[in-house]
Amino acid sequence: MLDHIIRQAADAGNKQFEKLERVTTNVANLNTTGYKVKRFEQYLSVDGQIDGVERVDTSQGSIMVTRRELDIAIQGDGYIPVTQPDGTIAYTRDGSFSKNSEGFLMTNRGDLVGDGIRLPLNYEKLFITDRGEVQVKLAGKIEPDTLGQIKLVTFANPEGLKSIGYNKLVATGESGEAAEIETKGIRQGSLERANVSMFHQIDHILRLNASVLSNMKIVKFTDDVYRQAVNLRQ
């Protein structure tokens, strides 16, 4: 009975610590481009224990103007497919791109954007339209040439995507297959900021702090009672 109380309070305290871990991850990624808030939601499992799942809040982050021609932000739904060095496809919302030595458009982790969009060596200006078409204006020409398109895909259940680090996600059975969409939401010269709300995170931390302290205090109380119960004859 008494040991049950102690175990329950200690378990609950541990779970709150686990939640604190997710909150700190969110705070740490306050300035990560395209980061989506992870929420650790707790619920009562069938056997009465507290259990938790991680959820992703896929809401839009604010758009920050950088004026860099290779930065793009996605306004609205969608993920940019990228080809990783091993040939597999991953998805990201981080649109801060660069060029590699061969002129291919790359993410900052060295993955090809789409299935490879190659930029020529000399061009006057680079445009990325709101539909994701990459166009360059060569010297002496009036009309820009279209080199390729940055396509966007969506999933039936974006929360089912698995994070593999470095701001990249991969499709799973839960997320469903990637489906290409028509978009008008690509903004050149901008980046999408993380959708982390500092005030929400602080609110979480304060609640967690109170909860952890109370649980630990209950452990101490119960321990006192336990000791007295064991030494009943003294």
Binding site: Q8, E159, T222
Partner: protein
């Protein structure tokens, strides 16, 4: 020889023990509340003691679940629902049984089923799992839930809102709540107040100590009585 009658209340020790036992059970209920402080939709329990505690032991303790509505917190998730009225949402568990809870945090799976966080199906007022006939393009804009629980999803092809059924909101006995108030984008925090729980627990500890002292006094008295009486005259 002993003159007169020796009166000894032999029951005293077991009364003290039972009181200690009951105190621990009450502590257990408060610990339960504190452990579930961070759990949305949790309803605090209060121990109630009947006056038959001396005879019934721990079973004289009953719990009353408070139906006070917890603080509603804005979560901005279109699939988080909070009840701003009495009542419970109904979920279908893996075994086919129906569970009731005020925790209205839901998600959509890729087939369009509305699920609880741990994958249980959400039931509509028709008693069937809620399923969207199509996946909304933009969850934040295309899903609305009316206060009575009716879910409407915008169909981009038909350019119209389509009803996907009504969330079932029932009383504890299973009857439908008439004036349900479902709030979309909100989470109901537990109605546990940590300070109140501690205010209740501190006297319990003292109560336990007092009963323990009573037990020790009576135990000492008893052993002294046995020693004195047992000494050869």
């Amino acid at each position: 020889m002993l003159e007169g009658r020796l009166t000894y209340q032999g029951d005293g020790m077991s009364i003290a023990l039972r009181a200690m036992n009951a105190t621990v059970h009450r502590m257990e209920i408060h610990t339960d509340n504190i452990a579930h402080f961070g759990l949305p939709g949790y309803q605090r329990k209060t121990p109630v003691i009947t006056s038959f505690v001396e005879h019934l032991g721990k079973n004289a303790i009953d719990t009353v679940t408070s139906t006070e509505i917890g603080r509603l917190r804005k979560s901005d998730n279109p699939l988080d629902f909070a009840l701003n009225s009495k009542g419970y949402f109904q979920y279908l568990n893996a075994g086919g049984g129906i569970e009731m809870t005020r925790d209205g945090r839901m998600k959509l799976d890729k087939d369009g089923y509305l699920l609880a966080l741990d994958g249980r199906h959400v039931l509509s007022d028709a008693g069937l799992p809620v399923r969207f006939s199509h996946i909304p393009k933009d969850l934040n804009k295309h899903v609305t839930v009316a206060p009575d629980g009716e879910i409407k999803v915008f169909n981009t092809e038909k350019n119209a809102m389509q009803s996907m059924g009504r969330l079932s909101v029932v009383n504890q006995d299973g009857s439908v709540v008439d004036n349900a108030d479902v709030k979309q984008g909100y989470v109901e925090d537990s109605n546990v107040f940590l300070q109140r729980e501690f205010v209740s627990v501190v006297p319990l500890r003292r109560n336990f100590e007092a009963n323990r002292q009573l037990f020790i006094i009576q135990s000492d008295t008893l052993s002294r009585t046995i020693q004195e009486l047992g000494r050869p005259q």
